[in-house]
Symmetry: C2
Subunit: 419 residues, 2 copies
């Protein structure tokens, strides 16, 4: 396996203006193709710093992936530094120039003279096609090392890595050990319990277990490499699913909201929401999904008490007596919104997201969730930790999880009926 390093170039990455997402993206793509990154380095837009970094990395690694500094303006110095680092003159590359011209023709815009600078490449380097922008990348072979220079714009970098660079790397280093990864998204279990449950099922030798925590959900990653990778990971996934049961809320790229929306569409259940403390967040997460109109009839964000009375018929006395944040109010909201909308399901949330509004009896984080169907009402009181944003997100995810489970249960029921 080749030793691979990444070099990210740009003042904006070292002054806090911008978080470098390219390095993680390159690592993800290469890792999916069974290559590993050994090290990554970031330097600013200083020619000497770039030259030193290129020379060091070329001496230590077989492949160096460079991002940034290929633009048309004066602070883009990567190409000139590459030429100087490896003692190559800069020459006008006709193929690169034609590619830049073509980009402007595509966009029906006239080319700025500064863009011609982007076609000046180190002698004996090969331009890499950039479908999405003006900056051609280039490939340079020096001191037994392959250096690939890519633009810093994430979409351009990604497309060029996929289409231009990966094939060249795979050609030089064919047949790496196949590497397989499976991702399960889990909601409702803490990380240590997920780990215990999976390990108690026994993780086959050669299968690696990793976690990516993005609360309130946690991604479980199962990985293996080698000729048996596929079947190893298949078996590990099966055991993990047995260990985690219905706490698995998505797999692969699918999110909790995406999975919930898919199940609601599949089962043909219709839904109406009444949201108080989440203020539209549940509806937003569901309508992020294309086709949400197939199941979502409405969401009533009844932020004020008068809206609860006017839109859902919650008696003002009920609110006065029990409070808008109460089990009885949540139950009434869920039932009323379902009946008024004529949907299969009615879901309501009411709570105190803070930072103000908490009392001793109902501190910040107190949330009631109610889910009404024709046959029953599920109702629960929660005390969620965290700040306003975390409380709202955890409320929304819990509500989505209830919907996911109810869609699922209904499907199981009707399956049984049809047997």
């Amino acid at each position: 396996m080749p030793q691979i390093a990444i070099l990210a170039i740009g003042d904006e990455l070292l002054n806090g203006d911008q978080t470098d997402t390219n390095t993680a993206e390159i690592a993800r793509i290469l890792s999916r193709n069974a290559f590993a990154i050994s090290s990554s380095l970031t330097v600013g837009d200083h020619e000497l710093a770039i030259i030193t970094a290129l020379q060091r990395l070329a001496a230590d690694f077989q492949i160096v992936l460079v991002t940034g500094g290929l633009g048309p303006t004066d602070d883009d110095r990567t190409t000139r530094a590459a030429a100087r680092a490896f003692n190559r003159p800069l020459t006008l590359n006709e193929r690169a120039l034609e590619q830049i011209r073509q980009r402007f023709r595509d966009w029906k815009r006239s080319m700025h003279p500064a863009n011609e600078k982007q076609a000046m490449l180190p002698h004996r380097s090969t331009p890499l096609c950039n479908r999405l922008g003006t900056a051609p990348g280039f490939h340079l072979h020096a001191e037994e090392t392959d250096l690939y220079f890519l633009p810093g714009v994430p979409a351009e970098m990604r497309a060029m890595l996929d289409e231009e660079v990966l094939p060249k790397i795979c050609q030089r280093f064919p047949d790496p050990l196949p590497k397989v990864q499976r991702v399960l998204t889990v909601f409702g279990l803490p990380e240590p319990e997920i780990e215990d449950r999976i390990l108690s099922k026994g993780l086959a030798a050669g299968v690696e277990l990793a976690f990516a925590v993005d609360l309130p959900t946690i991604e479980v990653k199962l990985r293996a490499s080698g000729p048996e990778a596929g079947s190893l990971v298949d078996r590990a996934e099966l055991l993990a699913r047995q260990a985690l049961g219905d706490y698995v809320v998505g797999s692969g790229e699918e999110t909790l909201a995406g999975n919930t929306a898919r199940l609601l569409r599949l089962t043909g259940k219709t839904l109406a929401l009444a949201e108080s403390c989440t203020g539209g967040l549940i509806a937003k997460l569901l309508t992020d999904q294309p086709g949400a109109s197939e199941f979502l009839d409405r969401s009533l964000v009844t932020y004020s008490n008068t809206a609860k009375t006017a839109l859902l018929g919650i008696p003002a006395e009920l609110i006065e007596h029990h409070g808008a944040v109460s089990a009885i109010c949540a139950r009434a909201m869920a039932t009323e919104v379902r009946q008024r909308a004529g949907t299969d399901l009615g879901l309501a949330v009411t709570g105190i997201a803070g930072p103000d509004g908490g009392t001793e009896e109902k501190p910040v984080g107190t949330v009631f969730i109610a889910l009404s169907s024709a046959s029953n009402v599920r109702l629960e009181r929660f005390n969620f930790p965290g700040n306003r944003c975390q409380i709202r997100l955890r409320t929304a995810c819990t509500a989505l999880d209830w919907l996911r489970r109810s869609a699922f249960e209904q499907e199981a029921e009707s399956k049984e009926l049809s047997v």
Copy 2:
């Protein structure tokens, strides 16, 4: 000014599992305190790689900030590598041990024996207090270089950098040139036009202009350093505000939604929303802000046509004849929701976010926004570019911008009245 480098440690940063946000965060905090980062390096959890990196960085830089690898488990190897890199034995540090014990007492949990490992520090290093977690950091002076070791958990790292490391750096390198940055958030102007407008006003020598694009908003950053930094940036901000007028939708940390919510609260205007294609996103953005209940009465996410008829009294024939995505429907939604809620403002959006549902006459991206007040209705048709997520976000930001401007205009009016 000292030469400063960052070293980030962790396999998860080089296999694509996690994007390194610590480096940008450290850069931001140091840059705000007038220090600059020269270079940053990332290596995996391999002891030899860590040792080599530490020795190289200590040779080249005066300050090295290290993050990650201080945990209690076997794959946390930073401390041992530091001890070996600078030939120091690992010894039990009593202050560090007491700090870890205190953390567990605070949490009312018993301490796992593995956590004792975290108190083994290189000889002659000083523990750094970690208020938020178990891993103590430490400071080690070797080869004229100050090395600060911090945990990889972002919140812990950040608190320790602020409270423990920055004071020590400022003590060793006092009186750096003061550096001042001012941030203005702009909505509704493209980046080149923002630049042209600001440059045509004349940017004083010594003031740097930078952009952070996070569409649909753009952050404009004005920076200067030196003894005159404050007044230079003050003047530049004034000119930039003149150049950009009311396209400035926030300054400092304030977002478009935050600014809109603040202005609505300030002016005492109340608001009701009727959202179709945004599906709750506008309400979500407004209720992200604490205190939104002061102005937001309700949002009706009328996703289905029957909901539009039932909740807003939009005649079914109107929808049949003109379509739910039409000027007349948007106008009726805004007026109805305002009148029914009894609020000062009623805002409605209806559109086609895609990916399906577009027609030749009304392609994906067609959006109508209407804002109704007691005296008039503002109504506009848009054709927004991008995918579902981008169209929804641009619709929501345009709606917020209308609300912001209307609150502002109303305030100006009432000010005139009170004169």
